[in-house]
């Protein structure tokens, strides 16, 4: 594991910033996550080593945005591209956060970090150079949809960081696209702060190529009366790990999550979510879907934490899984930790294969087996895909998935 060796010998990066130094120092005391802990227990160690076996390459080749035509009325940004963003229009403004502001922001964030739980963020922030950190402050209304790209480069480990502060009374749609390359690793950490009365429709689409790896972490803080809708899709990664941590800082906020991961061949993709309700009247509706085929392994672990203060919380979590091969495996662990008594919390989990009765019904109507399976899969995918915002047509996610399955 090249990266770990470099962390140990303090040779990770030249001229580190203060934040990088701080994170590096934290990592040096325990360079690897605790594989005995619930958060890392199921992670495939050899695949994880593959992730860490690339060197950091700061000189990345030029990146061409996919579907560059047809994207009027969308603000498209690439993390790592040295471009000053300062959009001040009549109704809204999108400003880039200064380095000092970002420093201040990260210092506060790091003070809450747990070495094991935020290991991916610590690694990301110690690797991510100033150029690869995109910080935005968004304000106003009628903001056009935004697409933000993070991409990996062949034979190297890239680290990209995104910070978005959504000021009060804002309403935006944002699609984040993480693209893996052949033999590459991408570490992506995202930090959102959604202030009062704001709403964010957020989509995360991550797909890789042959043997690409991804460590994707998402930290969201929701203030009073905010709404956060998240639709995610992860597929085609040798190893991918998606960590979602959402805090409703004072409760009275709404969170909807629809996430999906699709694994094939010998891939391992996992999703870990942790939702903290730090105040009363919080709402959560979460569904995670997994599909595992061939010899792959899909993992979902979600925890909902409802302390005493979070009375009248209404939370539900559902994990639905399709296991399509004799050699694939699925692990799922939806969990509830509740201290408040006046709450409505429930969770459910199912693991099965395609519904035989439905298949039979369609076949009696003259639909062939492959077509019937495709129909079933498309309805399975559609629920999640329709929740991912921003120019869904352009990305043709459903076709992409159906053609591959």
């Amino acid at each position: 594991m090249k990266i770990i060796e470099k962390i140990k010998t303090n040779k990770l990066i030249d001229n580190p910033t203060e934040i990088q130094k701080f994170c590096l120092h934290k990592l040096q005391s325990r360079p690897l996550p605790n594989f005995k802990s619930e958060l890392w227990r199921l992670s495939n160690k050899s695949k994880f080593s593959e992730f860490l076996d690339y060197s950091v390459n700061e000189k990345e080749p030029k990146f061409d945005i996919p579907f560059s035509k047809n994207s009027q009325n969308t603000i498209r940004l690439i993390i790592g591209e040295n471009r000053q963003i300062n959009l001040i229009e009549e109704n809204y403004s999108i400003e880039q956060l200064s380095e000092d502001k970002l420093d201040e922001y990260f210092k506060e964030q790091i003070s809450y970090f747990d070495q094991n739980q935020n290991w991916s963020d610590l690694l990301n922030l110690s690797l991510s150079c100033t150029k690869n950190i995109l910080g935005l402050k968004i304000n106003g209304s009628k903001i056009p949809p935004i697409e933000i790209f993070s991409h990996a480069s062949n034979n190297s480990l890239s680290a990209k960081t995104l910070v978005i502060i959504l000021e009060k009374n804002c309403d935006i749609e944002l699609l984040q696209v993480n693209l893996g390359k052949e033999n590459s690793s991408l570490s992506q950490s995202t930090f959102f702060c959604i202030e009062e009365n704001s709403s964010l429709n957020h989509g995360v689409v991550s797909y890789g190529e042959k043997r690409s790896n991804l460590l994707n972490s998402l930290n969201v803080i929701q203030h009073k009366n905010s709404e956060y809708n998240l639709g995610t899709l992860h597929f085609k990664f040798n190893y991918a790990r998606f960590e979602i941590c959402i805090k409703q800082s004072v409760g009275e906020a709404k969170t909807n999550i629809k996430s999906m991961q699709i694994t094939k061949k010998d891939e391992q993709i996992s999703t870990y979510t942790r939702i903290d309700f730090n105040g009363p009247d919080g709402f959560l509706d979460q569904i995670n879907k997994s599909l595992a085929d061939d010899k792959s392994h899909a993992i979902f672990e979600g925890s909902i934490i409802v302390p005493k203060i979070a009375q009248k919380t209404d939370a539900s979590q559902l994990s639905r899984n399709l296991l399509l091969s004799n050699f694939a495996q699925i692990d799922t662990k939806p969990q509830l930790e509740i201290i408040a008594d006046d709450v409505k919390c429930k969770h459910g989990a199912t693991i099965s294969q395609l519904n035989e009765e439905e298949l039979f019904y369609m076949r009696t109507r003259g639909i062939t087996l492959p077509e019937a399976s495709k129909l079933q899969l498309s309805s399975y995918f559609q629920e999640i895909i329709s929740f991912i915002p921003v120019s869904k047509d352009r990305w043709n996610l459903l076709d992409k998935l159906l053609n591959e399955n």
């Binding site: 694939a328 495996q329 662990k333 509830l336 008594d341 709450v343 429930k346 459910g348 199912t350």
Partner: protein, 480 residues
């Protein structure tokens, strides 16, 4: 609130089994080492294979670390400060109940356990275990007529050594976990049941475990073997006196069901739970596991857990035989500062195996009540099914209810369904019942009983009524 105070008064009802029997006991010195294990084995006149089994387990235990994943945060146990063998002094061999020390009989009488002749009419055979030894087993002759062996495990070692050697440690190996290894090294007594081929046990079998001394641990071991096409229903009850110190209870229960056999194992656990400040109480670390070895075999666990300061217990089923069935029905109630981490493991290995899990957790006071369960479908478990349902009820805003279901599947041709919910005593329902003239406590008790109905329906008659009362008693005063 008036209602709150009323409830609190009722909850303060003392633990009625907390008395100590003043009886002369034979104890060995405190501490745990190879010599102590040899001494226990010698006292029980055990064959060499059993001593070897104990010593091997002890060696493994020494290398193991006490598990902390359940996050129970209990006071560290000093394993050298425990007496590993304590027995009431009595005549060497008891041929009839008349020879049992009357004080002991009195104790079990107080506990409502039918050991004496006049109480035998209840038609339940009882094996009563007092600290480290079995005191008496009733209805032996009647059972023997059917070929059923029901005795203490020490007797079984002497009289049915072949069965013990064949099955002991096959379901829960000595190195299974920290507490199972400890038990394998120092187990003192427990019950042994053997149901021969084709026999339906004519009566319910029952074990009653009583811890009497404050400084000794109880390490019993139960082994139940149901041969082809046999069936048995086994009940287990536990109580202990009130001490300010914590007492360790680390038991192992192994069940084996062969082709078409069925075992129903019911527990009402009412160990002393400590006082309101959390002083004293039993640390209950139990490994219970059943192996459905044969085709169409069935193992059903039902439990009502109300006692113990700490409960760490996961009765499990290994479903090996084709079409075998595993069931788990549980009610766990915690109050004051009790902590319970309990659940089950259903390991589906054979094809067409089925399992059902129904778990009801009720947490009141400042207690923590967690359900932790595993459902695993192995690669050969084609056509297998699992259904799990875990409901929690929270009473008061200081109690905590957690659910940690681990679900793993490696077989596409199997189905797993899990659902969990959390609720509280609904004020509307309470109001409705009260407006119909039902007293406050009774209304609460009715609602709790309704919440637990799915599980109580699975309990044998004797236990169901007792469990209902026990729950009402334990809960009173905790609702505001």
């Amino acid at each position: 609130m008036v209602e709150e105070n009323l409830v609190k008064d009722v909850v303060k009802e003392p633990y009625k089994y907390g008395f100590v029997t003043d009886i002369e006991t034979e104890k060995i010195e405190k501490g745990l080492n190879e010599d102590i294990i040899r001494l226990i084995s010698h006292k029980k006149e055990e064959p060499k294979y059993l001593l070897d089994f104990r010593l091997k387990a002890f060696k493994k235990w020494q290398k193991m670390e006490e598990p902390d994943w359940a996050g129970l945060g209990y006071k560290q146990i000093d394993y050298q400060d425990i007496i590993y063998y304590s027995a009431p002094k009595q005549k060497e061999k008891i041929s009839s109940l008349d020879e049992v020390d009357p004080k002991l009989l009195e104790t079990f009488d107080k506990l409502g356990i039918p050991l004496t002749e006049q109480k035998k009419l209840t038609n339940v055979a009882v094996d009563a275990v007092f600290d480290s030894v079995s005191i008496a087993t009733t209805f032996r002759e009647e059972l023997a007529e059917h070929g059923v062996i029901f005795c203490s495990i020490s007797e079984a070692v002497k009289n049915h050594s072949d069965l013990i050697e064949k099955y002991l440690g096959t379901v829960v190996p000595a190195s299974d976990n920290y507490f199972a290894a400890l038990n394998s090294a120092v187990f003192s007594d427990g019950s042994f049941v053997y149901i021969p081929k084709g026999v339906t046990c004519p009566m319910d079998l029952s074990s009653y475990f009583r811890i009497n001394s404050g400084d000794s641990g109880q390490f019993e071991r139960t082994l139940i073997i149901a041969e082809e096409s046999s069936s048995v229903s086994y009940l287990e009850g536990c109580t202990a006196p009130m001490f300010d110190t914590n007492t360790l209870h680390a038991a192992v229960v192994e069940l084996i069901a062969l082709d078409d056999a069925s075992i129903k194992y019911s527990t009402v656990q009412n160990w002393y739970a400590g006082d309101e400040e959390g002083v004293g109480g039993i640390f209950n670390f139990v490994t219970k596991r059943g192996k459905c070895l044969g085709k169409r075999s069935k193992i059903s666990w039902s439990q009502v857990e109300t006692g113990s300061a700490i409960t760490w217990k996961y009765p499990s089923c290994i479903l090996l035989g084709e079409e075998s069935i595993g069931e788990f029905y549980s009610v766990a109630l915690t109050n004051n500062l009790q902590k319970a981490d309990t659940g089950t493991k259903m390991i589906h290995i054979g094809p067409k195996t089925k399992s059902t899990i129904v778990s009801k957790g009720i947490s009141a006071g400042n207690s923590i009540n967690s359900y932790r369960g595993l459902v695993k479908m192995g690669t050969k478990a084609t056509g297998s099914r699992n259904y799990s349902q875990c409901d929690s009820m929270l009473i008061g805003d200081q109690a905590s209810a957690n659910t940690f279901p681990y679900i793993k599947s490696q077989q596409p041709n199997s189905e797993i369904e899990h659902e969990a919910s959390t609720c509280r005593i609904s004020e509307d329902q309470l109001f409705y019942l009260q407006s119909r003239g039902i007293e406050f406590e009774e209304a609460i008790s009715m609602m709790v009983s309704g919440f637990c109905r799915d599980v109580f329906n699975q309990l044998p008659m004797e236990f169901a009524a007792e469990a209902d009362k026990l729950l009402a008693l334990k809960l009173e005063g905790s609702v505001g």
